[in-house]
Amino acid sequence: MRKNWWKFLTIALLFYTIIAGLLMEVPRLVILNETIRALYFHVPMWFGMIIMLGVSVVYSIKYLRNPEQKHDDTAVEFANVGIIFGVLGILTGMLWAQFTWGDWWSGDPKQNAAAIGLLIYFAYFILRGSLDNVDQRARISAIYNIFAFSALIPLLFILPRLTDSLHPGSGGNPGFNAYDLDRRLRMVFYPAVLGWTLLGVWMASLRVRIKKIEHQLDL
């Protein structure tokens, strides 16, 4: 029970996010209107994705330093959850863009960068699929994971800032810190980020445990 306190916290935070996120008062801004509530669902997906992929890379590095099966399992499952978050982030972003920019896909640098980022990780899973030897698969995919993650960072954080983008927070458009993230938004936004991230950790840890059981049954 005492070990599981964070799972109760996750459920509480997510209930709070959904209820307060949909019902509480938000600032009235032109064009954005009610879509500003996407902040509670779209933005935490990207936070979650970066955190999950970051954890995945840390475990890949751990695997290279000390080749143990459990590090590899953890790296893969966190990458898996990271991808789910990324796909959800793109879908929620498209939904938001449809209302504010008027198109599902308007070729915005942020959208393109996000799509390329997902391609990198799909390639990671294909690479894993095409290696038969378990040890070799773990080591080579760990290497690609680190390599791809370091290529992803300039993509997500540097390139969109160099080009003009309609996305809030780049190309001269105010980010969520400038004017629209007032106290009321923060009260839901930070719990939302924490809640979604914890949910990702929960999902990944369940998958890691399933993998562990599978390995033991194999032996």
């Binding site: 391609l119 080579i140 290529a151 390139l159």
Partner: protein, 220 residues
């Protein structure tokens, strides 16, 4: 350092002695350009600059993937064992990156010549364009050499080379295309500094990561 130079010299000599490999890539490049020229069916200088630019870099990208792929994929297992005794993995990866850069430079210049011969040459600032070719050669080889080393460990590696390579090289390619567009339009060179710096920074990251990770790949 001494090892590095002699290893690069060995690669070049080897390539020169069995010319069919480099000739194959050259023919691949020239044929692709010719196919593009015939498919567009235009008289020279009629392609709009944006299309000209995009087409040129797509051709170079595919040539690069094919050219760099052979640096690890087409090598015999026994040769690896031999290298393993001779040099450190760091020397091997750096010398391969340098060698692939040289190869890409040759391909890029020949490609540019051939391409502008048949499809026209709307470049406004040739110096920047040539400098950009150099940057592109460095970028392509630094990203793809490591990818080819990874892909060589898996089966079905030609496809793998492409799908692993594309997303990793895309940020670099976007920068290169942008600088190249600036060179085509012949606008002030100061406008391209941001892109050049970003490109160099990405190269530095990718190069450093390759240098650190290659020894792990090498061990198997």
């Amino acid at each position: 350092m001494n090892n590095l130079v002699s290893f690069i010299r060995k690669e070049v000599t080897l390539e020169w002695r069995q010319r069919y490999a480099i000739n194959g890539i050259l023919l691949y490049l020239v044929s692709t350009i010719f196919i593009c020229y015939l498919s567009f069916n235009v008289r020279s200088n009629q392609l709009n600059p944006i299309t000209w630019n995009a087409l040129f870099w797509i051709i170079l990208l595919f040539t690069a993937i094919n050219a760099v792929a052979k640096s690890f994929i087409q090598e015999k297992e026994g040769k690896y064992l031999y290298y393993y005794w001779l040099i450190s993995p760091q020397t091997l990866i750096i010398s391969r990156i340098v060698y692939n850069t040289l190869l890409m430079l040759v391909l890029a210049f020949i490609g540019y010549g051939m391409y502008s011969l048949v499809l026209g040459n709307p470049v406004g600032d040739p110096v920047l364009f040539l400098f950009n070719l150099l940057l592109a050669a460095v970028s392509f080889s630094s990203a793809l050499t490591m990818i080819s080393a990874i892909a060589s460990k898996a089966n079905n590696n030609q496809t793998l080379m492409a799908i692993l390579g594309f997303p990793v090289i895309l940020p670099m390619l976007l920068m290169v295309i942008k600088i190249s567009k600036n060179a085509l339009d012949g606008i002030a060179r100061g406008e391209s500094y941001d892109e050049i710096l970003t490109l160099l920074a990405i190269n530095l990251i990718v190069g450093a990561v390759s240098y650190l990770l290659f020894p792990y790949l090498w061990r198997s």
